[in-house]
């Protein structure tokens, strides 16, 4: 009996020990790991993140600004889609920004942001981003974090291999994903092969003011131009574009465009083509595309329709364009910081194919060609092949670099990010992602000087990673610490729209240049009122123009009479504040447009067409001050036949 009790007690103690031991271990391990990761992404209240991340909004059409490592969202910059919050595309000033050859287009699919560079290093002046659907490239000014220019790309459909910049931001490129008839014409779809074209566009960027001008288009064979990256260093005069559908299939592409064992990376010596253009090369063809420019002084955009584009046939510039055979419908096209390696991610392959720039030049000199496609030489695969990362994963998509000789590639199908070594092609580490990543981004990771501290992986599928929100769940990005030999997952955070690609930059390079407000004295808006003395109301037939001001905490004027049913009333409202973070808003009951959110020193305009007589209030929509609620006014609307004269006042004066 005693023995039994002893044995039982011993067992009980042992089991307790084991249990508690196991628990303690488990708890400790998790605790230590998670607290470590938490510390790495924790930014104390009031402190600033180390990096800005500009993450594309995909089908939201916008560009979101996050801080890294915290993953906090700071701003959604409206680019290609209307934004009622900021009145983008709703106020009279920004409507021209969304003008195209198809008229006003309120939406697009934004994909690949890229930050301007000088000598191959991020300079933090602008972010460029492409609109995929109605082909456009936008420029965002990083002093105001606002879209200041959009240029439409003619002869293009699905502007996907875009918007990457050359080493000194001489050009930003656009490329057609869908080959189309050039010029557009009515023809049978089945006659695609040999007849459609793939335009690659080079948009000149003015080194002084960043102004964009479509300088030339190369009319390539009708393949699908998917992704692109410029060369760096020795290869800086070259641009590389991946292609798929070299089969030129026009239906069931998932099968018919996956037949060729190898597609191409197109290598273009853009410098050579640009020199050809300078010497008067190429020919002008009629076109119709919009060029929209926003001015920070008039606080308004203008849209100009351009009627001509310079096109070049590859045969006109021999020695400038070559095809690099690359296995299985390559998607990502990434160039190492040195410019030597061109990584092609055959998305239907298990291997990554890496070409050598040095070998490519030698192959060109040796004329190591394997025939041609539409007259463009195809270089011999063996002659240019630097190496392959074997069986690295399934479905490689995109690669970025840390500047320490390592590359990081996302694999869509096997849902992981893989770290490997340039030159030896050995896999160093792999970490799962949740789930199915598209692009990844290392700040400066596509430049000559990466800041290899974090990798941001953008996923295509989220499933169960966050609290569910019905059938549509959040989009997501994941942050990895890449400073060690092994990568470490630090953070998941939700994103706005589908995050295709991102551009990151150390915050110190741009935060001090961020504008605090617009100077009222520099305001050149045609309807500005720079003081309350300048306010007035003018009638031009059925149009009524109200020159209004706002300052804490009133509008001037705030009582307006003499407006009639059927009038078109323009509220031109100037924010007279000259202080940081004192925007005012305005909205009018029944106005079929958005509010205005006006920054200090800025003028914006909305239109109101009153339909019934009455006294109709307007108010400030941004809680601006202790007396924000009192910031309101009235417009009296009289019947059309009324004889009441136009009058306006503030405090009966």
């Amino acid at each position: 009996m005693k023995t039994t009790i002893k044995l039982f007690t011993a067992l009980l103690i042992a089991s307790l020990l084991f249990t508690s031991c196991g628990n303690a271990n488990k708890g400790k391990k998790q605790g230590a790991l998670s607290s470590n990761a938490a510390e790495k992404v924790y930014i104390a209240p009031g402190e600033h993140d180390e990096f800005y991340a500009f993450v594309s909004g995909g089908f939201s059409g916008q560009l979101a600004v996050y801080g890294l490592p915290s993953g906090r969202l700071f701003k959604v910059i409206p680019v290609f889609s209307v934004d009622a919050e900021k009145a983008y595309g709703f106020n009279e000033e920004t409507k021209p920004m969304l003008n195209t050859s198809h008229g006003f287009v309120p939406w697009d699919d934004s994909h690949h942001p890229d930050i301007s560079q000088t000598n191959g290093v991020l300079d933090g002046r602008y972010v460029f981003i492409n609109g995929n659907n109605t082909p456009r490239i936008a420029k965002i000014d990083l002093t105001t974090f606002e879209t200041t220019e959009i240029i439409e790309i003619p002869n293009t459909a699905g502007n996907h291999s875009s918007s990457y910049v050359t080493e000194n931001t001489e050009y930003v490129v656009a490329g057609t994903r869908f080959a189309i008839p050039v010029p557009q014409r009515d023809m049978p779809i089945s006659e695609y092969k040999g007849n459609f074209k793939g335009a690659l566009s080079f948009i000149k960027v003015d080194p002084k003011d960043g102004g964009m001008d479509l300088e030339f288009q190369i009319l390539m064979p009708g393949f699908n131009y998917d992704k692109a990256h410029p060369g760096r260093g020795d290869s800086k005069d070259w641009f590389f574009f991946t292609t798929y559908n070299t089969e030129e299939a026009n239906t069931l592409l998932e099968v018919n465009a996956s037949q060729n064992d190898k597609d191409f990376i197109t290598a273009i010596n853009w410098k050579k083509v640009a020199d050809y253009v300078k010497k008067g090369g190429g020919k002008k063809m009629p076109a119709n595309y919009a060029h929209n420019v926003y001015d920070d002084h008039t606080h308004a955009a203008t849209s100009t329709m351009k009627k001509e584009v310079l096109v070049i046939d590859p045969s006109e510039v021999p020695g400038a364009i070559y095809f690099l055979p690359t296995p299985k419908s390559p998607h990502g096209c990434d160039v190492s910081p040195s410019g030597e390696y061109i990584v092609g991610s055959g998305k239907l392959s298990a291997d990554l194919t890496v070409h050598s720039y040095t070998k490519m030049i030698k192959a060109i000199e040796d004329k190591a060609f394997d025939g041609d496609a539409y007259g463009i030489p195809i270089l011999n695969f063996e002659a240019i092949h630097a190496g392959s990362v074997k069986q690295a994963g399934l479905g490689p998509l995109h690669t970025e670099f840390d500047g320490e000789g390592n590359a990081y590639t996302t694999f869509f199908i096997s849902s992981e990010v893989v770290k490997w070594k340039l030159g030896t092609w050995e896999v160093v580490d792999r970490k799962p992602t949740f789930y199915s990543p598209g692009h990844l981004m290392i700040p400066g990771g596509n430049s000559r000087k990466p800041f290899g501290k974090y990798a941001l992986v953008m996923n295509k599928i989220t499933k169960d990673r966050y609290l569910p929100t019905g059938p549509e769940v959040t989009q997501s990005a994941q942050l990895y610490d890449i400073t060690g030999e092994k990568m470490e997952l630090l953070l998941d955070f939700p994103t706005v729209g589908e995050p295709h690609y991102a551009a990151g930059i150390p915050a110190d390079l741009i935060k001090s240049k961020s504008k605090k407000f617009f100077r009222l004295e520099d305001n050149k808006h045609p309807y500005v009122a720079k003081s309350e003395e300048d306010t007035k109301v003018i009638r031009k037939g059925k149009e009524v123009h109200i020159y209004m001001t706002m300052i804490r905490s009133h509008f001037s004027p705030d009582n307006i009479e003499g407006v009639k049913v059927g009038d078109k009333v323009y509220f031109h409202v100037t924010n007279l504040e000259q202080d940081y973070d004192v925007p005012h808003g305005i909205s009018m009951i029944g106005a079929q447009t958005s509010e205005l959110l006006i920054m200090p020193g800025q003028t914006e305009t909305f239109v109101w067409e009153p339909k019934q007589p009455g006294v109709w209030p307007f108010y400030c929509t941004d809680f601006c001050s202790a007396l924000h609620q009192e910031m309101q006014g009235y417009v009296r609307v009289s019947p059309r036949s009324s004889k009441i004269k136009l009058s306006w006042s503030l405090d009966d004066e």
């Binding site: 300052i551 504040e577 000259q578 202080d579 007396l627």
Partner: protein
């Protein structure tokens, strides 16, 4: 050539230091509040008010209109009187330094001290008016515990809480130039006295 006496040099330099007032601000008022991570501030020169950061005065006025305070004027009569007064004192100081005996130095010092006190008193009067002469239609009216209307006078010297702001009122570089200059003229007097005694002895 006989070297200039130490006292004369000191007197001349001391009075010349007052010229610093034409370059540097005399005084500064700074207002701190949680919503102003960069505080609002105003530098007072002998001839102008200057924003510590651009548009600060405009923003101080905007804040103050809630409690009915007047706008800080673009200019005040003192901005004409002060430069002339300082100019005359510098001229006199240099003149005394070169031409007069040390006793005049003391006279200069006393006169300058008197003018300084008058200046401070004038500043106090303006501040008092600024902080108490409130618009009867003020948006927000505050009373002291005894029921009297609360004033918003910034401190003459030092720091003080005014509603949500902490106000600081301190001399600036110009004032230090004046202070050191005046001290030098006082020292010049004593040096002059010593030198004279030496000659006598």
């Amino acid at each position: 050539m006989q070297l200039m006496k130490k006292s004369k040099i000191t007197m001349t330099i001391g009075s010349l230091l007052l010229l610093g007032l034409f370059v540097f601000p005399l005084w500064n008022i700074t207002l701190e509040a949680p919503q102003y991570p960069t505080p609002l501030g105003m530098d007072i020169h002998i001839n102008k008010f200057v924003d510590a950061n651009e548009f600060d005065i405009k923003n101080i006025n905007l804040m103050n209109h809630y409690v009915g305070m007047q706008y800080i004027p673009k200019t005040i009569p003192e901005f004409k009187i002060f430069p002339i007064t300082i100019g005359i004192m510098v001229f006199l100081g240099v003149l005394f330094g070169f031409k007069a005996t040390y006793k005049w130095y003391l006279g200069w010092f006393v006169l300058m001290s008197f003018l300084g006190i008058v200046g401070m008193y004038d500043f106090y009067l303006w501040e008092h008016d600024y902080g108490h002469n409130l618009d009867p239609k003020a948006i927000m009216k505050f009373t002291n515990p005894d029921g009297s209307i609360m004033g918003f006078q910034p401190p003459l010297f030092g720091s003080k809480d005014i509603l949500n702001f902490r106000a600081h009122s301190y001399p600036r570089v110009g004032a230090y130039f004046m202070f050191i200059g005046m001290m030098l003229t006082a020292i010049a007097y004593f040096l002059g006295k010593k030198e004279t005694q030496k000659i006598k002895g």
